[in-house]
């Protein structure tokens, strides 16, 4: 296996509210993303998944921890070379396609802004060529370049957001809930587009979402986040076939199935970490098998392992 493209080691992001109170949004999270793969980060709102994305791309200054991107340390104070490398090599797609596009700029200027800043073209002709090329790649027409964001539908706007990230030829794209605001049929279009782009350009994704079912389609590996702790991580198969942590199980059981007879009688699993008596700060990472890791104390780990085995014999998760 090649060297990881992004390595996040014990990342902590605290927000100080006042003298007596500090929000620990992310509390000691470590993970790696390899070139060309998709890492899905799942969790409920307030679990810190967006904060991780924003800390990694340095929209926030991490409180503690080390972030290595493409061999360069991008945590703490960056030198100009590392900064430049980060700003070009890592791009972000935001959640709300209306809010993240400047309504007073034409699509061509929105897309080319990164190139303008970093002087990535020799003349205007090259700039326009690059814009038309990228618009075609995301399924828009070159004529669209002279329009304004409000003239597009939601799905098309998200494509503009993707084009803006893509034009820098990034190695890593952070997609922060980039399909949550879209309709079901359009979600599928955007997810497929992102997969096509990955095959063509070989970029890696950090895909942040709260919905495990969509994450399943795009991710190679998944990390489950709760209360600022990475409670379980592993490949897609490991997480979906053998969820160990009760929180992961509750997330899986909450996905509604489009099967009326089954769904009518099914009750979603209830998970409250206080009820379960789980204290995340006490847990350490336990290796289940392969790359599948779960955050637990020794005692919890044994208990969950037994339960997971029982579930496997029963055939799936008991709900």
């Amino acid at each position: 296996m090649s060297a990881p493209l992004l390595k996040v080691d014990n990342l902590k992001q605290y927000f100080r509210i006042n003298r007596h109170f500090t929000v620990k949004a992310v509390d000691g999270v470590s993970f790696e993303i390899f070139p060309g793969e998709t890492y899905g980060l799942v969790g409920e709102s307030g679990s810190g998944k967006s904060t991780i994305g924003r800390s990694v791309i340095r929209l926030y200054d991490p409180t503690q921890g080390k972030i290595t991107f493409d061999g360069l340390d991008v945590s703490g104070k960056m030198d100009s070379e590392a900064e430049k490398h980060l700003r070009i090599g890592m791009q972000m797609i935001f959640q709300d396609p209306m809010a993240c596009l400047n309504p007073r700029k034409k699509v061509s200027d929105i897309i080319a802004q990164g190139m303008d800043i970093h002087h990535l073209y020799a003349n205007l002709k090259e700039r326009n060529e690059k814009i038309s090329e990228i618009l075609e790649q995301v399924g828009l027409a070159p004529e669209h370049a002279t329009r304004y964001p409000h003239q597009f539908s939601g799905g098309q706007r998200q494509r503009v957001g993707i084009a803006r990230a893509l034009i820098m030829r990034p190695k890593l794209i952070i997609a922060d809930e980039c399909i949550s605001a879209l309709d079901v049929s359009i979600q599928a279009q955007v997810v497929n587009l992102m997969k096509d782009i990955q095959q063509r350009t070989g970029c890696a994704y950090l895909f942040i979402a709260h919905d495990l079912s969509m994450v399943k389609y795009i991710s190679d590996r998944i990390g489950v986040l709760h209360m600022g702790h990475l409670v379980e991580t592993g490949t897609k198969q490991e997480i979906f076939q053998n969820p160990m942590h009760p929180y992961t199980q509750s997330l899986l059981s909450a996905i509604p199935h489009p099967n009326p007879v089954v769904e009518k009688s099914r009750k979603a699993m209830n998970y409250d970490y206080r009820e379960y008596g789980v204290d995340y700060t006490l847990g350490t990472e336990h290796l289940v098998d392969g790359t599948h890791r779960v955050l637990a104390t020794d005692d919890e780990f044994e208990r969950w392992k037994k339960q997971a085995q029982a579930n496997a014999e029963y055939g799936g998760i008991q709900v």
Partner: protein
């Protein structure tokens, strides 16, 4: 089957909006029936007109709207006498005084914007009771506390004095449901009640609405774009596209035997946890702009099964069973025999097997 009591009957509803850029023909002849104690779901993409048709029922359409034709007949009990009114013929004031809250209540999408940030939760719940029922404030307060425990909020006495910002998203939506239930409505309209919430909380809120419905014996209309939600709650499904209902039927009929290509697309686009295919089916194109009138079937440009006639004539509703019908020319006796996509059929077969287990 016992006799069902018809509560709400919408016939030929047709609404357009006047904007500076021209008329937007949002609703193009919607029929819908709601019986006592049952749940009807309306499914469709944004802009298909599902919310607008329910706003018409509540009499809260925007100022620039114009009702071209149609009727909304609502039957309710007043002092033990059953009364039927046409909501479209009533003025806003009398709808507000006799229907809204007391007989038809609505739960909106975003609990943060539908609650008043300057009022305590308790005051917001009793507001409707004091206005409509004229009971004493103390009695209303007592009833509000019991309502909060019905919707599953711990420590209801304490929560009554909280402000909305002190509650989490799921708790806020519970408060909104409590407010909707305050005056014992006959019909509860839920407009995407869980879209703004997390998956885990979504499941809890849906289970809550279901249990409340069973205990209070009310009818519920769900508006949603998520077929998973529909599968969990609904008895009847209406699939809407571009202001029309394109397929309607019992939930099992629509899910296990869909006939309209748009329903096929919606079902295929749902992520499936049981398979390992890594591509998701996507309906090509995007929803039509309702400002431009189009001849024929509005779905035809996105439909790979479209026939020639789809460009000229709007398909009527073809009846499949007594309860199931769909508006597509594919069901006409002279149409070529087109089957649903192979992947979808395999998936439905698997779903049936799972259900039979």
């Amino acid at each position: 089957m016992q006799s069902r009591e018809l509560i709400l009957s919408i016939r030929g509803l047709d609404i357009s909006f006047q904007t500076s850029a021209g008329d937007v023909h949002a609703i193009r002849g919607v029929d819908l029936d709601l019986y006592k104690g049952e749940t009807v779901a309306i499914v469709g993409e944004s802009g298909s007109g599902k919310s607008v048709s329910m706003k018409a029922v509540m009499g809260i359409l925007d100022k620039n709207s114009k009702v071209n034709s149609g009727s909304i007949l609502f039957t309710y009990q007043e002092h033990g006498v059953s009364k039927t009114v046409d909501i479209l013929k009533m003025d806003r004031r009398s709808i507000r005084h006799t229907i809204n809250g007391q007989h038809i209540a609505m739960v909106f999408q975003d609990p943060m914007t539908s609650l008043d940030p300057t009022m305590t939760v308790g005051n917001q719940i009793i507001e409707g009771m004091l206005l409509h029922e004229g009971i004493r404030k103390k009695d209303a307060w007592e009833r509000a506390i019991s309502l909060l425990s019905v919707v599953g909020i711990p420590d209801p006495e304490k929560r009554m004095k909280n402000y909305p910002h002190q509650l989490s998203g799921g708790m806020r939506q519970r408060v909104v449901i409590a407010i909707a239930l305050a005056c014992d409505p006959d019909v509860l309209i839920c407009d995407e009640p869980t879209t703004a919430l997390d998956v885990t909380i979504q499941a809890k809120i849906l289970e809550l609405i279901k249990s409340v419905q069973e205990t209070l014996k009310i009818s519920v209309i769900y508006i949603t774009h998520d077929l998973g939600v529909v599968a969990k709650v609904a008895d009847y499904v209406n699939v809407m596209y571009a202001g029309n209902i394109v397929e309607r039927g019992l939930i099992n009929e629509v899910f296990y035997d869909p006939r309209h290509p748009y329903t096929w697309g919606l079902l295929s686009a749902m992520p499936d946890l049981d398979t390992n295919d890594d591509r998701l089916y996507a309906i090509p194109g995007s929803p039509p702009n309702l400002m431009h009138e189009r001849q024929g079937d509005a779905f035809a440009p996105r439909n790979i099964y479209a026939l020639n006639i789809d460009d000229r004539l709007m398909p009527p509703m073809f009846k499949i069973t007594d309860t199931h019908s769909a508006a597509t020319w594919l069901l006409h006796e002279n149409a070529p025999k087109v089957q649903m996509p192979e992947e979808l059929r395999a998936r439905i077969e698997r779903m049936k097997k799972e259900a039979g287990k």
